[in-house]
Symmetry: C2
Subunit: 398 residues, 2 copies
Amino acid sequence: MSEIHRASTTAPVNIAVIKYWGKRDPKLNLPTNSSLSVTLSQDDLRTHTTASCSPSYPAEDTLLLNGAPQDVSGARTQACFRELRALRKGLEDANPSLPKLSTFPLKIVSENNFPTAAGLASSAAGFAALVRAIANLYELPSSPTDLSRIARQGSGSACRSLFGGYVGWEQGSQADGSDSVAFQVAPASHWPNMRAVILVVSAAKKGVSSTTGMQTTVATSTLFASRASETVPRRMQEMQTAIQNKDFESFGKISMMDSNSFHATCLDTYPPIFYLNDVSRAAIKVVESINAAAGKIIAAYTFDAGPNAVVYYLEENEKEVAGVFKAALGEKDGWAGKRGEAVQANSVGLDKVIVDNAVAVGLLNDGVSRVILTGVGEGPVRTEESLINEKGEPVSKA
Amino acid sequence: MSEIHRASTTAPVNIAVIKYWGKRDPKLNLPTNSSLSVTLSQDDLRTHTTASCSPSYPAEDTLLLNGAPQDVSGARTQACFRELRALRKGLEDANPSLPKLSTFPLKIVSENNFPTAAGLASSAAGFAALVRAIANLYELPSSPTDLSRIARQGSGSACRSLFGGYVGWEQGSQADGSDSVAFQVAPASHWPNMRAVILVVSAAKKGVSSTTGMQTTVATSTLFASRASETVPRRMQEMQTAIQNKDFESFGKISMMDSNSFHATCLDTYPPIFYLNDVSRAAIKVVESINAAAGKIIAAYTFDAGPNAVVYYLEENEKEVAGVFKAALGEKDGWAGKRGEAVQANSVGLDKVIVDNAVAVGLLNDGVSRVILTGVGEGPVRTEESLINEKGEPVSKA
């Protein structure tokens, strides 16, 4: 039996606080504006990926995700494979003693530790893990920045999952996308007490896909241009300053305003795109009520292309934020485990919310299917836990 | 017993297709952008107002609306009274033989023929009727344009209810508001077959008042400026052309896009303002489905500062539009009467909608409390039906 080469990594989910929406080049996933996200802890949300290659594998590259074969013939995945093979080829050409891994078929196995159906940003973690795992397999000397350029071509926001902590994605100006890369604004250790509670909303059905949606927005929204050209560039600066200063009030206000701005351009699209529903609006009302009770911004909502609410807060305000959600939604899945059990249900805080927002609390109870407790975390981590055994067969760790 | 002077009018509701949102001068109700509306038939929706004055009345001006005394001390109402009295005073000064009506206390009685709680644009009809009735009482030679300048100070959109048919409101540029007046784009007779079905949505509670809301939008939305300065001026031109050409596809598309644009700037406000709810979104989906089935735009939704959907369509498409809503919502109040009974319930059309939008149809059924069938109509009409008898006492016609 011939050689089997393997390497594994885990990669994180990231949730943007300055949103990516709109491509200036759909083929290369070049965005119309820069964006910024928080990388979330892999204890709670991660993709685990093993990349392997062997001259003994069937000729076609394959990818198994949560046990199900995936189509790898799409331009996005092919671009990642092509770029990574070219880098490996460069090494092999420079050093003829290296095995010719670039010529072997790839076999990739991935597992998420969270439900794919939850509508979380699984493609970001997925492509980041895919690119990082192949780079490990190929022993590429590429930096996370270099890999972010490749992962971006798989899924735009994946580029931000190559780093931990607080991560920007510079839109860049080059036509070839060479300067459209991720960069670390600050490591997780700079502001380690950032937490998030994710309210997973049971949506009736999947809305408009984000690729289709964002291009329709670019084409039809008359408000979009000023978001891309004026609003976001200003907020990118303000947000980086807020993170440097660990200024949660600014971080939170900009996050909420930018989420609203993004969804406003969706609504201004023709035909309009709605990702927020009445449950999402209820989450906004509850966050507003929590902040009103605190007399300052201690909780900040943000919504991606779906109804799920991600609420950021600092650890020191856990009782006032996550505690209120636990009092309201304590029966839902997701409170088990270290993080959830540590949250003290705050029924006094909930009572204050109910005074003005009883309807919102009721809507949350009806519409939230589970919660996920998490916080800022690290970038991809190499692991020896392999999802492919020495015979080249997939093994599940799930 | 001394003389009692009386005059009466009815005035219509109007529903904008290019929305008014934002004041450049809150005191004078001067808008940040022009707007355009359809005046709706007074057979279906109207305010009936009798203005009277007498030296024998108690010294305070009074206003009775649907039997309930209203506060007339607010700056808006006072501005209307003051301007109208000044015009009357001019006539009296020029012709000393005229009775000195400008010096007498006013007693005004109003009745709406529709539920005030329905969240329809009752203040527009209310102030238009108030101003028109007092102008009649005072025998002012003022044109509807002149009166629109006064009614605007009572409620911005009231200025458009001084005219029938298709009505614009020119934002104007003068600091004193002298050029911020309504104008008739086309009379109802130009395009008489415009119809509307209004889906009255039972809202849990009243949202943000429009005066507060629009000023928060102006202050905080970063997308608002381009709506006011670029989007609306272009659409005002396009909409007038569509009306001149009786081009429903353009009329409908611009209406829908402008409603979405307005609500997008509400969502981009901080804190965000939501007027649309899941029932409103369901109405949008059903309209999109009706248009998809027709292969062209035959129905156009628009939403004011609330969840009610107003769906415009042409009489020739009544079965394809109102008929689908009748098939879906035939059990609701509002189908009785000449207009509603004439609508043929279109269950075949509804079945087509249900294929892709069963959830939306269900949401409509749960959330719509009544429908109102109406169409384009005339401006204020003088009437001899008085809501105040010869003794100066209110008499109800309701």
